[in-house]
């Protein structure tokens, strides 16, 4: 599974993307965040306030509780500020 990070999430984690292989019980974006935080300190810092983090699954806006079944690309990012 490809995981992407944008804006200050990318900067705090120190990379824009990575390929991960979480265990089968990581079934939602919320669970994926918990699993990432359990692995390294920088994820704890990046995902400190999850209420400020948005998620997209295969480039579609999703929720933290959306199923990750079949997902190839999961992206985490702050609220958008374009325009």
């Amino acid at each position: 599974m490809q995981v992407l990070y944008f804006a200050w999430l990318r900067e705090r984690i120190g990379k824009g993307s990575e390929t991960v292989d979480p265990p089968a019980d990581v079934a939602t974006p919320a669970a994926l965040i918990d699993w990432l935080k359990s692995r390294e300190e920088r994820y704890v810092a990046a995902f400190q306030d999850v209420s400020a983090v948005k998620v997209a699954i295969d480039q579609k806006q999703a929720d933290m509780t959306t199923s990750l079944a079949g997902a190839r690309e999961v992206a985490f990012f702050p609220p958008v500020t374009g325009g």
Partner: protein
């Protein structure tokens, strides 16, 4: 292509001409141009980051939504990415219609949706070297919500 994400600047005259040239069924063209603002001299550079693929898909969806809501003869959405300076153009939205109300409403709608639905992020660098990500504004969310759920 009526939806573009690009590092290059855009030319408003040329973009309007591309929509209207040779057509006599358009009575109203509304453009919105967003510029890098630096009212207090605190911004030396702005950088626009985006989510390639997802931004284009979102803009295409926003365009389709506008065309479903208003009778539009043409729509253009251009959003720049990469480093920009104060007073530089960031975004251009054009809506062309027979009458002005549809053109005005569609252009405002396109901007409200773009501001809240398209995956762009702004980072401002100040002259002293500090850099910070621009916070999302609640007023943008409220502006998008006035058009109702989709």
């Amino acid at each position: 292509m009526s939806v573009r994400v690009q590092t290059d600047d855009f030319d408003i005259n040329a973009e309007i001409a591309a929509l209207t040239n040779g057509r006599a069924d358009i009575g109203a063209v509304v453009t919105f141009t967003g510029l890098v603002r630096d009212a207090e001299g605190s911004v030396s550079e702005m950088t626009l980051e985006h989510y390639p693929g997802m931004t284009e898909a979102a803009l295409t969806e926003i365009e389709a939504e506008a065309r479903a809501r208003w009778p539009l003869q043409g729509v253009t959405i251009i959003h720049r990415v990469g480093p920009l300076a104060p007073a530089d153009q960031i975004v251009l939205v054009i809506a062309a219609s027979r009458h002005r109300q549809a053109a005005f409403e569609a252009a405002a709608f396109l901007m409200d949706y773009l501001k809240t639905r398209a995956a762009f992020w702004k980072k401002e660098a100040s002259p002293d070297g500090d850099a910070s990500w621009v916070d999302a504004r609640e007023s943008d969310e409220a502006a998008a919500e006035r058009w109702g759920r989709t």
